[in-house]
């Protein structure tokens, strides 16, 4: 055993020992299988909901417009619709319900009322081509009013006012379009980052409970600095998260490749390789920033119940951070963007979005350094708080409540200053 190692190497070795234990303990536990299967559950739920929704909506999908007109006019109307459909999309589908004899009238409302449940006919066109009447639910007939008028005009004068052919001159990327698409890429990246951190960072909150429950925390605290314990635990959970992401990513990509449905996004401003690298880095920092905060709060909690109670506000905090970052995306260069960059928790989100829309790399170097500093600060503060509140002997810690434990140092500092 080396007894002459430097403080820095001892510190890193301590982190590694803690991280390795935690990583191994989680990776080789049965619950890790459920962790990996976790994202399947929402997919399953969405698929089930989609299936049920499709089954329900299938019965009322493709709402059709019933025709109740004189035979000749009904035929003309249907023909006109078919002609126009070649150039005009989304015209209503037609069903001839009844061909009237000249002078015959139809009671459209009562016909619709008598329609069988689940019938696709949701509106009825009656009257004449010169004066058509649409009967049906408000929203639907409002949407069909224009198309019906167009079809009726075509039916009355077939080809009379044929629309001129428009020549298309497509270019690969228009500047405005490219910027718009990059913002879409940025939004998608932000959303993915948010979903992943929300899914994974919350796990850290209960991380210290095991050590406190097993009373091994004192052995750790005596052997290594508490900062190293915090770093080790965070890195272990980050490692677990990256394993999870790799598995989920590989499975997801395989499914998409097999299905031939790979979503396409505009290339980000920094290019895909750099963007992916920054994505992993910003995920790591988003995770470390939120994780260090959650680890601190969770470390001060005395019981699993307290941790569970804290999960809801933690999720709300993440949502808030996401909303701030999303809002800032639409206000690039404005104070809100700077605020989002400087606020540690939202910084990775907005910076990843920035990578999608701006090609400058240097700001990312600075942002990553800044975020690393913030992680170090939060861990330093968190471990000090932990030592102050949890590692005291005598009465059981936290009897006075988590919030008091959090606020005591500030209250003491305040009383000293005043």
């Amino acid at each position: 055993m080396s007894r002459t190692t430097s403080a820095a190497s001892r510190f890193w070795r301590s982190i590694f020992v803690i991280a390795r234990r935690d990583f191994g303990a989680i990776l080789f536990s049965r619950s890790f299988v459920f962790f990996l299967l976790g994202p399947l559950f929402p997919v399953f739920v969405v698929a089930m909901a989609g299936g049920i929704g499709a089954s329900v909506s299938g019965k009322i999908s493709n709402p059709k417009l019933g025709i109740a007109m004189e035979a000749q006019e009904a035929k003309a109307f249907v023909s006109a619709r078919d002609r126009l459909a070649q150039t005009v999309p989304n015209l209503p589908e037609l069903v001839v319900i009844i061909e009237l004899k000249p002078g015959e009238k139809v009671m459209a409302r009562s016909m619709l009322d008598r329609a069988k449940e689940g019938s696709p006919v949701v509106a009825l066109l009656s009257g004449s081509l010169a004066s058509p009447t649409l009967t049906g639910a408000g929203g639907q007939i409002d949407a069909w009013r224009g198309p019906v008028s167009l079809i009726a005009a075509e039916a009355r004068n077939p080809g009379a006012e044929a629309a001129p052919t428009v020549t298309l001159d497509k270019i690969v990327t228009a500047r405005a379009d490219s910027a718009r698409k990059r913002i879409r890429t940025a939004q998608a990246a932000q959303t993915l980052l948010f979903l992943l951190t929300m899914l994974l960072a919350g796990m850290v909150m209960s991380n210290m409970v095991e050590e406190k429950a097993n009373k091994i925390i004192e052995v750790l605290a005596a052997a290594v600095p508490m900062d190293a314990v915090f770093y080790g635990k965070l890195l272990a959970m980050l490692g677990i998260s990256l394993v999870g992401l790799s598995v989920w990513g590989a499975v997801g990509l395989s499914i998409m490749l097999a299905g031939g449905q790979i979503p396409s996004f505009a290339p980000p401003a920094v290019g895909w390789p750099m963007f992916i690298m920054l994505g992993v880095t910003y995920f790591s920092f988003a995770y470390l920033l939120l994780g260090s905060l959650f680890l601190t709060i969770g470390g001060l909690a005395a019981t699993v119940r307290e941790v569970q109670t804290l999960s809801m506000p933690a999720t709300m905090l993440q949502l808030l951070v996401f909303f701030v970052a999303s809002y800032a995306l639409g206000a690039m260069g404005e104070p809100i963007e700077w605020a989002a960059i400087l606020f540690p928790l939202s910084s990775p989100f907005i910076m990843l979005a920035r990578a999608a829309v701006s090609p400058d790399v240097m700001p990312h170097v600075l942002a990553i350094a800044y975020q690393a500093g913030c992680v170090a600060l939060i861990i330093k503060g968190g471990s000090a708080l932990f030592r102050r509140n949890v590692m005291k002997s005598g009465p059981a810690p936290m009897k006075k409540g988590l919030f008091r434990a959090l606020l005591t140092p500030f209250a003491q500092a305040w009383s000293r200053s005043s």
Binding site: M1, R3, R21, K215, I217, E218, V219, R387, G394
Partner: protein, 335 residues
């Protein structure tokens, strides 16, 4: 906190000549720790010679654990200085220290040998070496058969032994035990005492806290008595005991005579039906003049015993009745 100055022995209220011990494993000066405004440790001074067995005695809540935690760097003192194995930062020399906390704990899913290696790794020992040494220790102490058993599958005693061995796996120069006898049966306590003596014989400094005076009396040459966060005594066990005069129990054939003047003033006899008397008094001077006076004065000595004060009496004398009562209340367990 200035921890760079060399220690000034005069600052300590030692019970012996501390200047004779230049090689100190631990020096702590005026350690103070408050929790939420309440003083847990109030100006504690401790110095522990290297290679000795040192006991910190006091009832629960006296400040023993807080003092040990400050010495280990688990918490920092609000004021005062500490120097452990010559270092002001205990974590910097963590590989030279072993610590068994009062509240024992291990990861339940770990195997015994892995748990020992893990604690060794925390203290800077390569994992493979820790596993190898862990197996050796388990074999040495008769627990080789549980080396590959998970902690959760062990009895409480087995798990405690594993943690104890984990404390020693990296061959520390200083071992700190916080209430090590707590929860152990009498046989295990005996084994632990033997182990502690063995460690000290090998040059390891052993510090332990206890509220059971018998352990300290059997094991320690030096102690610190801690009560109410303060250390009213610190030094040799013999010095603590010598603070009280020996108790003399005397039975004589005669109740009175010129020899009575050799007894301390105010010593009242219990007159026996045979005409003799019983005397109980503290020996304030030398024993030889007393014996001479009794013999030459014709007291007719039938029985005479001179008992040196025990550590319990010394504790009562030093820490006070209240602390002694608290100690007795805490110590309702086999010794």
């Amino acid at each position: 906190m200035d921890m760079t100055k060399s220690p000034d022995p005069d600052q300590f209220q030692h019970g012996d000549d501390e200047s004779a011990h230049t090689d100190l494993a631990i020096e702590a000066r005026n350690l103070v720790k408050r929790f939420d405004g309440t003083i847990a440790v109030d100006g504690v001074d401790i110095s522990v010679p290297a290679g000795s067995i040192f006991g910190i005695l006091g009832p629960n809540g006296a400040g023993k654990t807080t003092t040990l935690r400050m010495l280990l760097g688990i918490i920092d003192p609000d004021s005062g200085t500490r120097r452990v194995l010559g270092s002001e930062n205990p974590h910097a020399i963590a590989h030279r220290i072993g610590y068994l906390p009062e509240e024992r704990g291990l990861y339940p899913a770990m195997k015994a040998v892995d748990a020992i290696a893990f604690v060794g790794a925390l203290r800077g020992m390569p994992r493979a070496d820790g596993r190898k040494r862990g197996r050796e220790l388990l074999e040495e102490y008769g627990f080789g058969h549980i080396a590959d058993r998970q902690i959760r599958q062990m009895s409480k005693g087995q798990a405690q032994t594993v943690q104890l061995l984990a404390t020693l796996v990296h061959s520390p120069e200083l071992v700190i035990f916080d209430e090590p006898f707590s929860g152990l049966d009498a046989i295990s306590q005996g084994r632990l005492e033997k182990m502690m003596r063995g460690l000290a014989a090998g040059g390891t400094t052993v510090i332990f806290s206890t509220h059971v005076l018998a352990h300290a009396e059997r094991l320690c040459e030096r102690i610190a008595i801690i009560a109410g966060g303060k250390v009213p005594f610190h030094g040799l066990v013999s010095t603590a005991r010598d603070r009280l005069p020996p108790q003399v129990h005397l039975e004589t054939r005669h109740a009175d005579g010129p020899w009575r003047s050799a007894l301390p003033p105010g010593t009242e006899p219990q007159i026996r039906s045979t005409g003799g008397a019983l005397f109980d008094f503290s020996l304030t001077g030398e024993v030889e003049p007393l014996l001479t006076a009794l013999i030459e004065g014709g007291a007719g000595i039938e029985a005479l015993s001179i008992e040196r004060a025990g550590l319990h009496d010394a504790f009562v004398s030093i820490a006070g009745e209240a602390a002694a009562r608290a100690l007795e209340e805490n110590g309702q367990e086999p010794t």
